[in-house]
Point group: C2
């Protein structure tokens, strides 16, 4: 019956992901379902295309890298992901789409969320005329001090 419960939970998760894809008008294909689960089952994450691709292969999900890119962009357009730019050369996709900021561990390149709640930026000049603020991004770059300087 442990196995039975397992199956029920499985089915639930599956249904949730399926509904999510449907709700944004994307066909629930094998690849998208699998990727959605890697991305959204579990806590918030910051992934690169390559990372997600490796994870998929490790989990025995056959997906091409082109599909990874397609999917990440479609999910982003659909508001399921957001892109974070902290490093030229690599695009990070963030499963946390709520307004929030980031710690960046410079050495490892790892990102960590800072809840927006409480954080305020004051003293900013008004947006230049003819423009609207689409987002304020705060990135706190951290140097790890210890072994390797």
């Amino acid at each position: 019956m442990a196995a039975y419960i397992q199956t029920v939970m499985e089915t639930r998760r599956y249904a949730r992901v399926l509904a999510r894809l449907r709700s944004v008008g994307l066909r629930p294909t094998r690849q998208r379902l699998a990727l959605a689960r890697l991305l959204f089952d579990g806590g918030n994450r910051h992934v690169t295309a390559e990372q997600l691709h490796s994870e998929a292969l490790e989990a025995n999900i056959r997906v091409s890298l082109a599909t990874i890119y397609n999917t990440l962009h479609q999910f982003t357009r659909a508001g399921l992901l957001r892109e974070v730019v902290v490093d030229h050369g690599r695009a990070y996709f963030d499963t946390n789409t709520k307004e929030h900021h980031h710690f960046l561990f410079e050495d490892s390149g790892r990102l960590q969320d800072i809840p927006s709640k409480g954080v305020t930026v004051t003293g900013l000049p008004a947006a230049p005329s003819g423009t609207t603020v689409s987002r304020i991004e705060v990135i706190i770059r951290l140097r790890e001090h210890g072994s390797s300087q």
Copy 2:
């Protein structure tokens, strides 16, 4: 005598750039002198490698793209420039090395300085233990509203 004054000013600028390179231990080569003047004579700027390369060619300075990259990185390491990351795919180099933030015009990709003076970020959690804040970056993404949405 207008020509004479011109020459004096030229000499001054040259001397300044030369001293600047010497002070950071970089040999004042033809290429570095020319690039330093494109970068530092005049107001603060945000340039990409390609942009600087075109400017150099337009000004009849023969420099390879490899040298542009070498120089930009050497200047950055020497603290004469700083790198700003706002767009994956392209590296921007900023001649303003003082602490400051940026407006980013999303459509054009153009950056505009926001003096740090006055701007405060409050409510941030402490830096994770074992780390030090190396820089706080605030980027305000702007959408230009008008002709093209």
